[in-house]
């Protein structure tokens, strides 16, 4: 009797619990979502920190901003500039003055006209120190740009002017063949002056936001989803095929894969790398692989005399790292070993073939040279080298392998390696302050110009984490920047890079590879050749 009583009470409570859970929901047999024909679900890999073009500095925000804000110059899937808000442009003979002619009848998503004034406002905003753009470097070569960034000139003096309602003129300090690439960047996506003035820093609220791109924002649940819907006022709206884009911030790649398998996501951001082989086997052509315009390397701390004054040591350590083993056996996902200070793919291969000449020698010979240099550097069993590798938690097994390679080459008694694992922000701060021996580093090129790499080795550049400084290098780079002759520029930059490379301030390791799953129903997106992974939703079709 007692048992019956308790069991029936139990059943009642479980039942009511389930009813409570159901009561607030609209639970038509949802099951696995059927794919909607007007909405594409795209995983961004992480949450969007900002949708303000001037404030963005991460790839996630950039991905969304490409959809929301059109810059002066658009780009295609091969990362080539094509007409955008500006229908055409011309460059003066000295390469310093760019004149852009706007399309007729341009409108923001609220129907208000896009004027030359909005464009000037967009560029000035990027330079304005009060806005604190992390990418204000993009305007540093525009007349007065650097002075404005440094707070020494007024924002209005920036060399971006409206000649009339349809024409914009941008004047540079030095000629820059990459300037048109800068005009495609998400940071210069055109914003509405009226809208920003009206709403102040609340302008990015989806209820207020006015956009100039192919899409406009409808909903944004932070960490949840961001729903974009087609902007009917976009100049090329007829060619925007998919009505809604639903962005998801799936940080966990396993969760992303599960969602992909159950049609919750059409395009993943990445894949769980430990399942690479399995996914390749199971999903075949749905898995896309492309080299990313980005490099992985380690910095020597050139502030410390034991590294700064000992080139033999730096070269020995660099040579002892077996990059082929790292890319083939430790990472094994299609990365390419790197022996130069820029990737061979940048500017469509204009800087390929730089690399170290010893890279072509047989490995045994490389090791013999390395050992010889190590001895010349003054280290041996009686005078061992003590060195610390600083890295952040995501660095995987690479640093273990590098430490092992050094010890194998030079002997465990001659080199003692400690590894210092740091949390990301702490690591960044220490690296910036040059508080390390050897530190992990990496760089994603922003646009298809070698300039995005050359500043990594430029004296006093904030991006120069090794604090390497060779004024000869700076001179060559400056000279290249001031020339208007493309061949001369390439020659000078190659010369500079060769110089820096032979100074061994960093240990280049490999060029990154990226992986992405794309549902076969998605057409029109070339996921195999977009080295910069700059993607726009307007390319997608079903």
């Amino acid at each position: 009797m007692k048992q019956k009583y308790i069991i029936s009470l139990l059943a009642l409570i479980i039942g009511s619990g389930i009813l409570v859970a159901c009561s607030k929901s609209n639970h038509e047999q949802a099951q696995v979502k059927p794919q909607s024909s007007d909405t594409i679900n795209v995983d961004l890999g992480s949450d969007v920190p900002t949708i303000d073009p001037a404030l963005t500095q991460d790839v996630t925000s950039a991905r969304v901003i490409y959809d929301l804000f059109s810059p002066l110059v658009d780009f295609n899937q091969n990362n080539q500039p094509i007409p955008g808000i500006a229908q055409k442009w011309s460059v003066s003979k000295d390469g310093k003055v760019y004149t852009f002619h706007l399309r007729k009848g341009l409108k923001f998503s609220d129907g208000s006209p896009i004027t030359a004034e909005d464009i000037v406002f967009t560029w000035q905003r990027l330079a304005d120190p009060k806005v604190s753009s992390p990418y204000n470097i993009l305007v540093s070569n525009i007349v007065n740009g650097q002075a404005i960034i440094d707070g020494k000139a007024k924002v209005e003096t920036l060399g971006v002017t409206a000649l009339d309602k349809q024409t914009i003129q941008i004047t540079l300090e030095h000629p820059d063949t990459a300037f048109i690439q800068i005009c495609t960047q998400p940071n210069v996506g055109i914003v509405s002056k009226a809208n920003l003035t009206k709403f102040g820093n609340q302008w990015t609220n989806p209820d207020h936001m006015v956009t100039s791109g192919a899409y406009t924002i409808k909903e944004w649940v932070v960490q949840g989803h961001m729903l974009l819907t087609k902007n009917p006022n976009y100049y090329d709206a007829n060619n925007v095929k998919i009505k809604n884009v639903n962005f998801l911030p799936l940080v966990d790649t396993n969760a992303s894969l599960s969602q992909y398998d159950t049609n919750g996501v059409d395009i993943t951001y990445s894949i769980p790398v430990d399942q690479y082989k399995d996914i390749q086997q199971r999903l075949g052509k749905q898995l896309h692989q492309f080299p990313l315009e980005a490099m992985s390397f380690y910095d020597f701390n050139m502030v410390l005399p034991q590294y700064a004054n000992n080139k033999n040591l730096r070269q020995a350590l660099s040579m002892a790292v077996d990059r082929e083993v790292i890319v083939k056996h430790i990472l094994g996902q299609g990365q390419t070993a790197l022996y130069s200070y820029v990737t061979p793919t940048i500017e469509d291969g204009k800087f390929a073939g730089l690399g170290y000449s010893w890279a072509k020698l047989p490995r045994a010979q490389q090791l013999a040279m390395a050992k010889d240099l190590f001895a010349k550097a003054g280290y041996s069993e009686s005078h061992p080298l003590e060195i610390a590798i600083s890295y952040n938690t995501n660095d995987g097994n690479k640093k273990i392998a590098i430490a092992a390679m050094w010890q194998e080459t030079f002997g465990t008694q001659s080199i003692k390696v400690t590894q210092s694992n740091q949390e990301w922000k702490t690591f960044l701060q220490d690296r910036k302050k040059a508080d390390y021996d050897i530190a992990r580093d990496g760089w994603n090129a922003d646009y298809n110009s070698v300039n995005t790499y050359t500043m990594l080795y430029y004296c006093k550049s904030p991006q120069n984490n090794s604090k390497y400084c060779n004024y000869e290098y700076n001179k060559l780079i400056d000279k290249a920047q001031n020339t208007n002759n493309p061949e001369e520029r390439i020659k000078l930059i190659r010369q500079a890079l060769q110089l820096a490379q032979d100074d061994y301030a960093i240990i280049p390791l490999y060029q990154y590879t990226w992986h992405r799953l794309v549902n076969p129903r998605v057409k029109g997106y070339d996921a195999d050749h977009n080295y910069f992974d700059h993607v726009q939703s307007k390319w997608y079709k079903f």
Binding site: A21, V32, V251, D261, K425, L428
Partner: protein, 310 residues
């Protein structure tokens, strides 16, 4: 009782203030800056950002201004989601942040508590029966196998293989989307409740006054419901307060696995990004909830146990 409640609330204010002070200084002492990134900011831009967030002022001044904002119910502006207020991130108008976690926690607890109590009580009454052994081993099993394991396993079985439920996401907070995460959380919490309840029932049943009741010849039903249940519930209730607060701020792993836009993900992001204001807000929210639940537990105790009233 009202007097007691007021006293408890008054005592909790200095506790909260101490927590706020401690966390404020600890957070600001952590190495790393919210605005450090792979790309270094220009000096002027950094200066202007530091000024916007008052980080250029001496720490004590920042502290006083922070307390002042707090009194006005303002948690400040996020340093990760630039320009967005913490209030709107934690308590958004649409579904998200705290509301997501609150809903999941209520569903979880409203199922886990009755199930846990009943299973525990039944197991305790039939000590050493097969049912009792199942409850005990179930508790050991689910304590040893955390949500980090049950979550992905549930996704694999019910979403990827059987395709009965979606693999994750919030949907519109509908039944299908919430079923798996809630079940996973119930599995994490119900066994503990059952285990405590079981132990407590066993202890109560072996106490002298129950033996007296039995000796007096009272029927089992009367003994159980009039004399045993109430005292046996006390340890469970004291467990529930911190547990509920824990679900509210601690479902980090479950939220990550099922990609729910709740507090958990906000918390981890805030810590890794040094979003000072967000860390502070979440800590204050967590401590307030813990204090509030503890007060509720104390009040329930008084209702159930007249000894404490004195």
């Amino acid at each position: 009782m009202i007097k007691f409640a007021i006293k408890r609330i008054l005592v909790s204010i200095p506790t909260l203030l101490a927590i706020i002070t401690l966390v404020f200084f600890l957070v600001h002492m952590t190495p790393g800056n919210p605005f450090d990134g792979e790309r270094a900011l220009s000096a002027e831009a950094l200066k202007s950002l530091m000024a916007q967030y008052r980080l250029d002022l001496p720490l004590w001044q920042q502290y006083i201004m922070y307390l002042n904002d707090l009194i006005h119910g303002n948690f400040g502006i996020s340093m990760k989601y630039l320009g967005q207020s913490i209030n709107s991130l934690l308590f958004p108008d649409n579904m998200g942040g705290f509301w997501v976690t609150l809903r999941i926690s209520i569903y979880t607890m409203s199922v886990a508590v009755p199930i846990g109590i009943l299973l525990g009580a039944y197991a305790g009454l039939h000590k050493n029966s097969w049912f009792d052994k199942m409850v005990v081993s179930g508790n050991i099993f689910f304590t040893a196998v955390p949500t980090m394991v049950t979550g992905p396993l549930a996704v694999l079985i019910f979403a990827v293989t059987l395709r009965v439920f979606p693999a994750g996401g919030w949907g519109d907070g509908d039944f299908m989307h919430l079923f798996l995460p809630v079940v996973v959380l119930i599995l994490a919490y119900a066994p503990t409740i059952a285990f405590v309840m079981r132990g407590s029932i066993i202890e109560v049943l072996s106490s002298n006054y129950i033996r007296t009741a039995k000796a007096k010849g009272l029927p089992t039903k009367t003994i159980l419901f009039k004399h045993a249940i109430k005292p046996a519930l006390l340890p469970v209730i004291s467990l529930l307060g911190p547990m509920f607060a824990g679900v509210l701020v601690g479902a980090v792993v479950t939220e990550q696995i099922f990609t729910l836009p709740g507090l958990g993900v906000l918390t981890t992001n805030a810590a890794t990004n040094r979003d000072y204001n967000m860390i502070m807000a979440i800590t204050i929210l967590g401590s307030t909830l813990t204090i509030v639940f503890n007060i509720i537990v104390d009040l329930l105790y008084i209702l159930l146990d007249p000894k404490i009233k004195q």
